[in-house]
Subunit: 462 residues, 2 copies
Amino acid sequence: MKRILVIGAGLSTPSLIKYLLDQSEQQNWKVVVGDFSKEMAEKRVDGHPNGDAIQFDVMNDVQRAEETKKSDIVISMLPARLHHLMAKCCIRFSKDMVTASYVSPEVKEFHKEAKEKGIVLLNEIGLDPGIDHMSAMEVIDRLKGKGGKLTAFRSYTGGLVAPKYDNNPWNYKFTWNPRNVVLAGQGGAQFIHNGMYKHIPYHKVFSRVQQLHVNGYGEFEGYPNRDSLKYRGEYGIDDIPTMFRGTIRRPGYSKTWEALVQLGVTDDSYVLENSENLTYRDFVNSFLKYERVIPVEKKLADYVGFAEDSFEMYKLRWLGLFDDTKIGLKNATPAQILQKILEEKWQLDSDDKDMIVMQHKFEYVIDGGKKEITSSMVVEGKDNVHTAMAQTVGLPVGIAAKLLLTDVINPTGVRMPTAKRIYDPVLKELEEYGIKFTEKEREIPMNGNGNGNGTENGNGQY
Amino acid sequence: MKRILVIGAGLSTPSLIKYLLDQSEQQNWKVVVGDFSKEMAEKRVDGHPNGDAIQFDVMNDVQRAEETKKSDIVISMLPARLHHLMAKCCIRFSKDMVTASYVSPEVKEFHKEAKEKGIVLLNEIGLDPGIDHMSAMEVIDRLKGKGGKLTAFRSYTGGLVAPKYDNNPWNYKFTWNPRNVVLAGQGGAQFIHNGMYKHIPYHKVFSRVQQLHVNGYGEFEGYPNRDSLKYRGEYGIDDIPTMFRGTIRRPGYSKTWEALVQLGVTDDSYVLENSENLTYRDFVNSFLKYERVIPVEKKLADYVGFAEDSFEMYKLRWLGLFDDTKIGLKNATPAQILQKILEEKWQLDSDDKDMIVMQHKFEYVIDGGKKEITSSMVVEGKDNVHTAMAQTVGLPVGIAAKLLLTDVINPTGVRMPTAKRIYDPVLKELEEYGIKFTEKEREIPMNGNGNGNGTENGNGQY
């Protein structure tokens, strides 16, 4: 009987743990789930005969070593900054490890040792990072294989509310960490277009969106991520002239959000004096010019360039930004106050379901012609436990663990799932769970442009 | 014969050193000027019989101690972060020190020791900080003395080019550190208006200007400084409902500068790859969306909301931003590249003269009525050595040194010139050098507003 140690039983783990337990009988697995809260671990295991819930403190060196030693594989669903603690144990006892997180610099350090010991620390095999890498590489390798030359790669991912429950004017609810949503974009953005780097300061990120369409789901938009360039090496497309990564929202979200950024209410760098006793209306007004007789609503509309009767202003009013409600948070930053206001309005109801949307666009030249492949995936949540986020983050991790335990794959070192022998079986099994991409291909004129974003560079100046 | 040690012989020191040397015969002073460059020190002393130029290395502990010990007073014109080294010596040998810089935390630490030794470390007695404190306190103390209650204090300072030499469309040239001008505003701004804190994010600072008029000099504008609140305690006006500090430019400067901020070209946080070989036009274009056939000029105009034929766009074209000139700077940040472009256009010619403008506005209630005092100072440079900046920074320092040496004033501890017994004689003597304020007073309606900035708060919402 093989022993799987899953560390962390948070919101991203239910589908992962269910996957492992569902297969445990057939595979002869013991699934041990450890969390700082034993109760959380028990909830995930839910009395399954092949499951075991333990209280686990990642800072406890002895426990970390003992549990790792006893296991055949470790799945770390801890916050990314803690993975290296488990990684060190895995190196020591020669155990494979799987995570859904970005490779941290500390984990990267273990590459040589892991290779020497013949084990793998397999990271970035969740959703984003994870399914994005695998699905992109599948297309990139296929195009290369048939002699195509990739000229543009654009990739978008977003966590949204499923259409049936999408009943507010922002077409958005918090399906994941609200703080990250409030602070999104703060490093600005950079990408490359026709061989030219493009830079966007934070306060303009949400004005530089691209339009998307997903069959059966309608229109979306994507605002640029901080760094669209970093996977060029890993993907083997160092010289690609156009590469863009973005975050998906429904159309119009970004334009209204940009107004909040321009107003300054997403700032997390200072604390408002007396924030507790200010009203939401005072809060907004503290970013606007004093005027004797002009209401806050009109001042804001003028400041950010919205018509007073615009839908954008309706969305801001709908948030309650102009209400006389007391903030009630002590020593809060503008971003913290805004998060509180948003949480009241963008909360998922208990019967709401979430949705993950991912879309890649590949432009490539082949046989003297130019084509575009659009590859799209939509996953809806099953309920408020097995959310789309939990499925798309957890299932690839679970599948990878199975492939490692059953010796279908045998990578070594610190790795991402960009190699065909890894992504192929993972993507294949994900399809059984409804996590799959739909492809459309079309020809585009050699000097034309796909979707309003030109891709040929007739004139370097523009 | 008393010995005055002046450390630092940079651009802000010529008028100071001339003042001391001019008085040295009558006062029986020896003026020793030390600089890391002995040549610079010699240039300032210019062979004066009571002057002495020495090579001085502030990091040399022995020299620092010896020179301080031999002197009766130390004037430190070093960069602010180095004053504490001289301050420590002054404490050790019980010598007074004068600086034109903000009190650093390290210098502040010496307050108790300085008091005990009966010496003063007198700081912030240049222009800004310096003349601003003294001239404001003179009015504030006067109003208090006659029973007035201050309801608003607004203060503006700016270094500009003198009107006769003001011959470019920005009405601006670099008269001081260009880097500070490029990075101005980056911390955002906060001030207080009618008892309500106001916050402005960086990208909006230059859209929140106030209009000014100075008799004989015409129109100006003031954009908000980072922190308008910090002197409330020092000025004894903790409860003032409205306080604003700003930087003076000619009208229109801020609106066009805001476009550069919105574009992102003032960012100093990352380096542009291949910056050396990009043209100015490429540089600007790297912040704009790709478009097949729309020129960079039009893209920029649309992006920042200017008409293509606007004066603002003319000012941007005039800078050469759209030229095909190579940048030629390796690994440069956007801010560094912009500074280079600006330095070519905003350079003072050798026969240009600079100008300092300062204006305070005080609103106060007295005898049931409300009044406004506008107090303005303009100083023009005499030449490119005795600039307005050198005069206004250096002369108050020199005067303060004289007042200390002649025992007219005897403050102790770490001080700013906010006490009447200090600012009175300094301001009086400054007048002899043409550095003086002109006052206008007018009555304003009790519920009216002075200059479009309302000051009564009929409704807390606005």
